[in-house]
Amino acid sequence: MVTTLHHILANSIVLLALKLGILLLLLPATLVVGYVELKVMAHMQHRLGPMYAGAYHGWAQTLADGLKFIQKEDIMAAATDRTVFSMVPYITMLGAALTFVVIPFSRHGVIANLDIGLFYALAVSSISVIGVLAAGWASANKYSLMGGLRAAAQLIAYELPLVLAAAAVAMQAGSLSLVSIAEAQRYVPFALWAQPLGFLIFLAAATAEVSRTPFDMPVAEAEIITGAFTEYSAMKFAFGLFAAEYIAMIGMSALAATLFLGGYVPLLPQLRFVPGPVWFLIKTGLLIFLLIWIRWTFPRLREDQLQKFAWKVLIPLSLVNIFVTGALKLAHWT
C-alpha cells in the first residue's frame, strides 16, 4: 500500500513543486550553513560568535550579510575583462547547484533519477573550477592569477581519487543511479562495511574540491588574499565565492552522504517511521559539521604537497580500494 501511495505522489503536481522547492531552497540553505559555520567556529574558539543581529544569538547575521552585499558598490577595475569577470559568479554557482538535480532527498524526492546520476554529479561539480580559473584570469591581478592557476592544478589532483572512490561505490551497488546506490545501503551504510577506505578518500578529495582547509590553497587569505576572488566585491563576491562555496559544500556533503551513508535510507529498520528527508538532512548535516570542524582546526598544505598527496597516496589507495571491492564482489557472487 505504501508503494502505491509513493507511486501516486511521484506523479503529482505536489511533488513537482517540491522538486522546484529544493532548488529554490538552496539560497536560504547557504545562509543557514553560513550561520552555522560562524557559530560552530566561534564556539570551537571559545567565543560566542554573532550575538546581536536579529537579537537572539545573532540568528540573522548571514541575512544581514546578504542584504548588505546587495547595497555594496560593484567595483570592476579598468583592466578587468568585464564580460568574463561578470560571468564568473553564474558559472561557479551553477556548477555547484546542478549537483542537486540527481541527489535523492527521499525515494521519490529527486528532481531527476538519472541512470547515470553519479556520473552526472561528478561531471557538473567540476564546472565551478572553470569559473575560478576565469576569475583569476579576468581580474587582471597577480594574486588572482596565482589563485586561478592553483585551482586548476588542484582540479586534476583531486578529481581522480574522487572519481575512483565513487567508482568503487558504483561497483559495490551495481548501479550508477544515486537512488539505487542509496537503496543498496538499506540499514548498513557502505562507510561502515564495504567502503570505509573509499569514504575517507572521497572526503579528502571532496574537501579539496570545495577548496576548504587543509586544501584551501586557491583562496589562501594569508598568502594570495582570497586568490581568484581578490578583486570581487558586492553581489559578485557574495555569489561567486560565498554562496558557491556553501552550495558546493552542501552538494558534496549530500553526495557523500548518499554514496557512503545511505542518504535518505534509515540507519535502523526500527527507525523506519522517521521520514527519508530527515535522515538525509541529518547525514548531510553531520558531514557539513565535519568539514567545518576540519576547516577551523588544521593548517593548510602547500600546493605541491597536495599534488604529492593526491598522486602518491590517494590515487594508489583508491586503485587498491577498487581492486579489493572487485575481488570481494567476485568472491561473494561465485
Partner: protein, 183 residues
C-alpha cells in the same frame, strides 16, 4: 540630479519607506566586514578585540576579508607614517561604497606621542575621512568595541538617498575620553 539656478547640484529627494530604509541600515549595521589592517601598537589591541575575551564578532563585525574589495569597515590601528600614508589612502579607495573608517588610537587621531616626529602623519583624517575616533594609546579593546557601537548607531540613523548621492556631510563621532592605557 539637477543643477540649481545658482549652479549648485541638487538631489531629488527620494523618499524610501521607513521600513525599507530601516532594514537596509540594519543590514549594514550588523554586517561590518572589517578589513584586516594593522599598522602599529594598536593593531595588537585590535587583534585582542577579536579574540575570545572580547569577541568583536558578537557585534556583527566579521574580521575575515583580506582584500579591501570585500570590506565595509577599515580600522586604522596605529601610527600612519608619511611613507605609509599613500598606501593607506589607496587601500581606502579600493574599498567599495558604503564604507566606514574608524581611527583607532592617538597616533592615527593626531600623531600621539609622535607629535614632533619628522616622518609621522599627524592624523589619518588628513588623507581619508574618518567616522569614529577612538582615543587611547592604545585604546583598550573595550574602547574599540564602544567605538563600533557608536558607528552602528550612526549607520542605523543614516539617510540612504543622501548618503548614496554623496551629499551627506561626514560628521565624525568623537568619543568621550574613556579609561585607556598608556598616556
Amino acid at each position: 540630479m539637477t543643477i540649481d539656478g545658482d549652479g549648485r547640484e541638487r538631489v531629488h529627494r527620494v523618499k524610501l519607506p521607513k521600513s525599507v530604509s530601516f532594514l537596509l541600515n540594519w543590514s549594514r549595521k550588523y554586517s561590518l566586514w572589517m578589513f584586516q589592517f594593522g599598522l602599529a601598537c594598536c593593531s595588537i589591541e585590535f587583534i585582542a578585540s577579536a579574540m575570545p575575551k572580547h569577541d568583536i564578532m558578537r557585534l556583527g563585525v566579521i574580521p575575515f576579508p583580506a582584500s579591501p574589495r570585500q570590506a565595509d569597515l577599515m580600522v586604522v590601528a596605529g601610527t600612519v607614517t608619511d611613507k605609509m600614508a599613500p598606501a593607506v589612502k589607496r587601500v581606502y579607495e579600493q574599498m567599495p561604497e558604503p564604507k566606514y573608517v574608524i581611527s583607532m588610537g592617538s597616533c592615527s587621531n593626531c600623531g600621539g606621542p609622535y607629535w614632533d616626529s619628522y616622518c609621522v602623519t599627524k592624523g589619518v583624517d588628513q588623507i581619508i575621512p574618518v567616522d569614529v575616533y577612538v582615543p587611547g594609546c592604545p585604546p583598550r579593546p573595550e574602547g574599540l568595541l564602544y567605538g563600533i557601537v557608536r558607528l552602528q548607531n550612526k549607520i542605523q540613523n543614516e539617510n540612504i538617498p543622501e548618503r548614496w548621492s554623496g551629499h551627506a556631510a561626514k560628521i565624525p563621532q568623537i568619543m568621550g575620553t574613556g579609561r585607556s592605557g598608556g598616556i
